[in-house]
Amino acid sequence: MSLSQERRDALRRDFPPSRGVEEIPSQDIPTFKVEREVLPELARRLKDDPQFDFKMLSDVCGVDWPEREARFDVVYHLYSLTHNHRLRLKVPVRQDDAVVPSLFGVWKAADWFEREVFDMFGVRFSGHPNLKRILCHPSFQGHALRKDYDPGQRWLLREGEQDEPAWAREVQEDEDHFETQVLNLGPSHPATHGTLRTVVRLDGEVITRAECEIGYLHRCFEKMSEQHTWNQIIPYTDRLNYCSAMMNGVGYVLAVEKLLGVEAPPRAQVIRVILSELSRIMDHIVCIGANLNDVGAMTPFLYVYQAREEIYSLLEACAGGRLTISYVRVGGLANDVPAGFEDAVRYLLRRIPPLVDDMERLITENRIFRQRTEGIGVMSAEDAVDWGWTGPCLRACGVPYDVRKVAPYLGYETYDFKVPVATTGDTYARYLVRVEEIRQSLKIVEQALKRLAPGAIITDNHHVALPPKDKVYTEMEALIWHFKLIMEGIKVPKGEVYGYTEGANGELGFYAISDGGGSPYRLHCRPPCFAVFQAYPHMLPGHMIADSIAILGSLNIIAGELDR
């Protein structure tokens, strides 16, 4: 998992503390404190040296420590696909000189992540090609994730103050002296499924340049999580990727459980697996259905949406909500599944495959669909890794990276399932991978159902889980624990952790820092869509305007997760 000792020694040999690279203790991933002067050289070495081979930059985020002299930390999380090890770099900077060299030249993935750090903390990245606000609107004043920013302070954006790419205002002619046209797609557009905006320059019907603007659904998840207790954040995580709410909650509580050192009981883990995989199916159904809908095939959406309604009914029976269910808790689940749960899951296992078969019969060999999608939006494996792609989109490019396999959680190593991989990396390949993942998820659910044994659904650690209600009413001690947990929240020991799970769109990371209090000091979500979508404007040039819609649908961009 983590960087081996000899490699750490090699790193220390070439980058000794005298050069400003210093290893600092960490409880999960090897962590180095790096002076900003040496950062580009170190980054280049870590990427290119085969013994490190950190081809993927998973995440960049900022942390604010107002009482420290070097007020901000810029934190990088690196991952090597070949060695399956991870590394964390921390670059401290002072507030009056908050500039860090941009790593966009090393990993393209740094592009939007660095812009986000700039937007939220005001740390500038020298050499970044397009350093401007990304989530907040242009009239916003201040930097929202700084500790001294009032979470309720709003700034009004008026008509005409929206951001416009500079190149979109220029008049340009093509080589035949025809004027090219600038077209604005979104943020309210039927094919954007949420609030995404793309500005494209067209030569005839061919896109020559594109730029995306996001942040139209920036709901301040990270700031809000600093204002709430650890358990109160779970409803917020549901609304990240709302197509598969369960998986966000599971990813988040696994990170917190790692920090706490507790584990959910076996029954809770199995239920988490079952509902997570069903959520993955729902998510893929919406993605495929909406993608097909956008390219003109309405019928399959209606077919597979039935499966979604059936899964909703199951979730509603378990948790009371259909979409955003808030079913997980730190240490287990909110309540046990209802009677008849197993029969309901068995019914789903029978019900879903024929619906998927119906859709496949209509679409997979459909000549129109294949012509619309084959060879469209091609991404090479190397580029995809460089952009930080994960999940089905990366696997469609031929890289078999699945967190469930390389860093198993919830006992995924004990389930028999395959990771579907395609080779062509185009829109059609992404469709195929998702369809196959639906079938693999059904396989996992089937196996998990056999392991569902009676037992506790939440840990009995009274520092973490609420005591049973009947005890609260009858025993003094239980009442005290109940009171303390409700009023103060779970006390998570001081430390930091990067927890990562396989969400429907790829690696869903939660970087949590606790100062020992009842709410996180900092909680950063690494949304898989964010990395995927930053490559989208670079895929468009050379494609027709209609292709851009087909590509966008196949990437499965969920605005709630993208903008947080």
């Binding site: 907040c136 309720g152 008026r158 309210s188």
Partner: protein, 192 residues
Amino acid sequence: MGDAQVGRPTLPVVGQRAAGPRVSDGSNIFLTTKLDHLIDQARKNSLWPFPFGTACCAIEFMSTIMSHYDMSRFGAEVVRFSPRQSDVLIVAGTVTDKMAPVMVRIYEQMAEPKYVISMGACACTGGFYRAYHVVQGIDEFIPVDVYVPGCPPTPEALLQGLVRLQEMIAKGETHYQRMAAAARTAAQGAAS
């Protein structure tokens, strides 16, 4: 139906041949009403929604128009993504300060008469996002006729909201109708 009156024929009828519905004893009945009310009856059963879906509520909106819940049963099936072709704006999801000017522009572009349904806690009040980038209720910017609570509301709740809007249209209670009535009264007052 407003101040419509149902009763025995009071208008002269030639040779008992007047067209129109008959009561059970065979005599004709007439229906007198204001033209506005008659048109409102037609409008309420042919709403064309503009789905301004931004977040989670948009997914539940999708469920509402799909075959299981089937909003077309209530005469609002023709979802249009062009504000020029729609008359009810369904704001489904969180609206942020960055998105608010877009929403206002779409509302202004819609043809009159127009109605607004605010779907979900975020659109109604900002929901649990009491935060630096979230509009605390879309009525900061545009008038709302029906608030549908829930996070997200179930499809049943949205359907009830739609039926409620239809009732309001029939009774002339929507924001647009009240403004129009007030403008008419003011114009009559000025004329006399």
